[in-house]
């Protein structure tokens, strides 16, 4: 599978295995094509999860991760790509409808925009929330201060 992809896309793609789990590191530009190919050509019809991780010291701060599963092959694969602050990623809602809420959650928690998403807004936090909590520069006590004081009218609980 990887060899086939490499032949098609060349250097934009690398494959790794860690503790028996496979993952692909893909250039951001190739993301929609690769995801489409994985679903249609390789039968990864189930998008298990979509998440991200923040690495503030890297040049491209965010890593977006798709976890895919194929019922046919009983196999998992992870697709990862790195993006910089302010970059957006094409949405996967058209490929797996399950990505809808998952992308909203990634936006809510990391502030990563998914271009073409039908309803890009916060999902777990209130609409007026400032900042994106799962970024590393967002302190664990920060949420307790401003929003709570303004909206609930009480002093911080901690």
């Amino acid at each position: 599978m990887v060899a086939k992809f490499k032949g098609q896309y060349g250097t934009g793609l690398e494959s790794w295995t860690y503790l028996g789990q496979n993952y692909l590191i893909v250039d951001r530009a190739l993301i929609p094509d690769i995801l489409m190919l994985l679903r249609d050509g390789e039968q990864f019809d189930y998008c298990v999860d979509l998440t991200a991780a923040h690495y503030p010291t890297r040049e491209k701060q965010f890593e977006v991760i798709w976890i895919l599963y194929s019922f046919e092959r009983n196999e998992r694969v992870r697709v990862k790509t790195s993006i910089a602050e302010g970059d957006s990623i094409p949405t996967a809602v058209g490929i797996w409808p399950t990505a809808n809420w998952l992308e909203r959650e990634v936006y809510d928690m990391f502030g990563i925009q998914f271009a073409g998403h039908p309803d890009m807004k916060r999902i777990l936090l209130p609409d007026g929330w400032k900042g994106h909590p799962l970024r590393k520069d967002y302190g664990i006590l920060q949420q307790d201060q401003e929003w709570v004081q303004i909206n609930l009218g009480i002093e911080s609980g901690q």
Partner: protein
């Protein structure tokens, strides 16, 4: 003639879309967040035409506690009890998933005896979770008796948990590397006694509901979802199986000691609320089978693998998932080699299954929304984390 009211009335036409709100055919109402049938704080905005549901929008997050952020500020050991607070009716499954995920990351394996204890407790928990689901689901639809029956029998499971680890709901039963507690004296005997006690009780639940005319009318054909839609929406667990997909992580990618046991994966055909009910009832019986085999075959030996006192997994990342009572529960952990996870992501089955609600209730009656929320078996603590 420019009076706006007369102007709009002269154009009164029920077939075109109304802009004046004077003769609106569509009604938008809120269900929740405080509603007895939403099983917690779930707000569903319903767009209705009479009693027919045209569309829904779920508003969630009322119980958001930032579990993933907390994980980054706790050591691997300290975070272990937190996972119990997500799906609090199936805390043992959450703990199992987390412990196994960290074990995978550290490349260690729990000893066989620990695995058997884990299977027994996890399956007991699956049974307890399904009992709670059945009681509340039937209550939502209008049958009040099953609630008393199931809670009476679930109590026996909670007693076993309490005797084993001191807690009833948020058990924190397992530790990374195995189990902390050896089974108490008479554990096997009590579990066996429970099995013979509960098997006829499950028949009793079925007697109340399976052929009950009201139950069948309220559930058959309600909240239909096809296997293709389930897969596209990432729906897992009994909901997926009731649509006819024979897929269970315990069989597909066995973990703990599940490969040692002989059990079936019950599936449905129609993908409606009634089939989901039948699948979960059959799953309860399969759980009993697994527990019976595990108790009979429980090996002697240590219950804790050799792991260091301070848990420092090597740099790397893994995804590990288990079949929780509600579906695939996964943990994605990134380690930077320190004592705290760099990033910990939980793949919650309730959150993703809830996304299918819109698809399942479109075109149905408003009373069916209650039935569908019940049949999805969501726990808001897990949806919001």
């Amino acid at each position: 003639m420019n009076d706006p009211i007369t102007h709009s009335l002269s154009h009164l036409d029920l077939n075109t879309k109304d802009e004046t709100f004077l003769d609106s055919n569509e009604l938008i109402i809120n269900m929740g967040p405080q509603h007895p049938a939403t099983h917690g704080v779930l707000r569903v905005i319903l767009k209705l035409d009479g009693e027919k549901v045209l569309g829904t929008e779920c508003v969630i997050g009322y119980l958001h506690r930032g579990v993933e952020k907390i994980a980054e500020h706790r050591t691997y050991t300290m975070f272990n009890p937190y996972v119990d607070r997500m799906d609090y009716v199936a805390a043992v499954s959450n703990g199992l998933g987390y412990c196994q995920a960290v074990e995978t990351l550290m490349n260690v394996e729990a000893p066989p005896r620990a695995k058997y204890i884990r299977v027994i407790l996890t399956e007991l928990n699956r049974l307890a979770s399904h009992q709670l689901w059945l009681g509340t689901h039937a209550l939502d639809i209008g049958a009040i008796t099953p609630l008393f029956y199931t809670f009476r029998d679930r109590e026996e499971i909670l007693k076993i948990f309490e005797k084993y680890c001191g807690a009833r709901l948020t058990t924190h039963a397992f530790r990374i590397g195995g189990c902390l507690y050896e089974t108490y004296d008479g554990f096997e005997r009590e579990v066996k006694k429970f099995l013979t006690f509960v098997a006829p009780k499950i028949d009793e639940y079925e007697e109340l509901l399976t052929t009950n005319r009201i139950w069948v009318e309220r559930t058959r054909g309600v909240g239909y979802i096809s296997a293709e839609d389930c897969i596209a929406l990432g729906v897992t667990g009994p909901v997926l199986r009731a649509s006819g997909v024979r897929w269970d992580l315990r069989k597909a990618q066995p973990y703990a000691a599940y490969s040692d046991f002989d059990f079936d994966i019950p599936i449905g055909e129609n993908g409606d609320t009634y089939d989901r009910y039948l699948v979960r009832m059959a799953e309860m019986r399969q759980s009993l089978r697994i527990i019976q085999q595990a108790v009979d075959g429980i090996p002697e030996g240590p219950i804790m693998a050799k792991i260091p006192k301070v848990i420092k997994p090597p740099v790397g990342e893994i995804y590990h998932s288990i079949e929780a009572p509600k579906g695939e529960l996964g943990y994605f952990i990134v380690s930077d080699g320190s004592t705290q996870p760099y990033r910990l992501r939980v793949r919650p089955p309730s959150f993703i299954n809830l996304q299918a609600l819109d698809q399942m209730v479109k075109g149905q009656m408003i009373a069916d929304v209650v039935a569908v929320i019940g049949t999805l078996d969501i726990v808001l603590g897990e949806v919001d984390r």
